[in-house]
Amino acid sequence: MSMDAQLIEHMMNPKNYGALEYSDAQGIGKNPENGEKVAIYIRVGKDEVAPYVEEIRFQAIGCTTTVVAGSMLTEEAKGLNFNGVQNLVEATMKLLDRLPPEDAACSEMVALAIKAAVDTYEKRISDPDYPTITYKIVNSCVVKDDTVEVIANQKEGK
């Protein structure tokens, strides 16, 4: 992860972190390899033509990259109608190939959790007892020690 001021701001003050009291639905994105997961909570606005994400929060069992991805993507999702959310999720999934593997796994986990929350909400329209949906990621989370190794190698002249 290369760092700029915006990224550091998300690390220091992740946006929308925490549980949402009185949420309409939750969704989970999970890494089956290591148990890391992201929970998304949404409150849905119904005062427009199409339902939209009025409030969104997230919590994570995961690394700082997951928290940064959660902070960024939930900010993007806030205010979007469900079509907009699906577009955001699809656009994020398409970007994953261009990211380092560990960053791809973290972003995928957040994107799938957002999708799971919206899908759970839609399922509950016809079945209020529908359980919270969990989607599992396919990208593998590689241990993030590349940066340090690169520095160590540079210093040793490798």
């Binding site: 550091i8 690390m11 220091m12 549980a19 700082t64 928290v67 340090v148 520095i151 540079q154």
Partner: protein
Amino acid sequence: MKTIMIKAHEAWLATLMAGFMSKTENKQVLFDFSDILFRHFTWLENELIELDEPYNYDRDAIPIKVEKLSDLLHDIEKRLSEIDLQLLSSPDKNLDERISTDIAYMRDVLQHMKDEDITAFSMERKFPDIVLTEEATDALTLFLFEETYKEYELIMIYNYLKAHSSDAYLNRIFQILIDESFFHLKSFGDMGAKMGLLAVPRLVMKEMYQVEDVVQFLKDGINEELAAKEECKKLSEAVSKDSPELEKFFDFINHQENYHISLMKDALKHFEKKNNG
């Protein structure tokens, strides 16, 4: 009671953060006060357990970004006043009295503390008198964010396990691990403040501390400590040429993890022995 415990949790963290920000003799006083507030938090938790009231470690976000220390101190005073007021409804008058007299003294000291300019949020990512390469700075930045949260998470987990255990042998181990994590949290928080990266650790999810399988938790924990040792080793190598001081520090943290692993192995053995009758 639940609300008072949440407020004590928030006041503890706000005071700890104020300690990280300070560069004067205020620092140690704020650290001492944060330790006292942590104990209040644990007493209130114990009270909830005795009353059989459900609770968790959820709390609100704690805004700490200030330019002057006095701004945060006023906020902490306000938090302490709220706790004091709400204690009136506590069924345990002795507990109420103990906390209330601590609060009265702390508020008085906070009111008279010398003000300081705060640089802990500058995002400069520079250590005083140490020049690191950009890559080493990035690696250290990531390490500090990861580990500051991790240490807070461990404090909350071990505290919860301790609160719900009456096994003296295990509680001794949990208390040592809490103390060790406090030391690490304070070390990393101080480093974060020096680099202009101070942040309140994020909320810990319930399922992390409401541990269902302690044996598995300890096994995973030992592996995490081993991974943390590796991280410290690599970071120590990465900063060695720029800062022998930081190199020694990360070696020291690395070696401390051996003790944590040994304690966790002891706890694991004890649990397995208990489970096997």
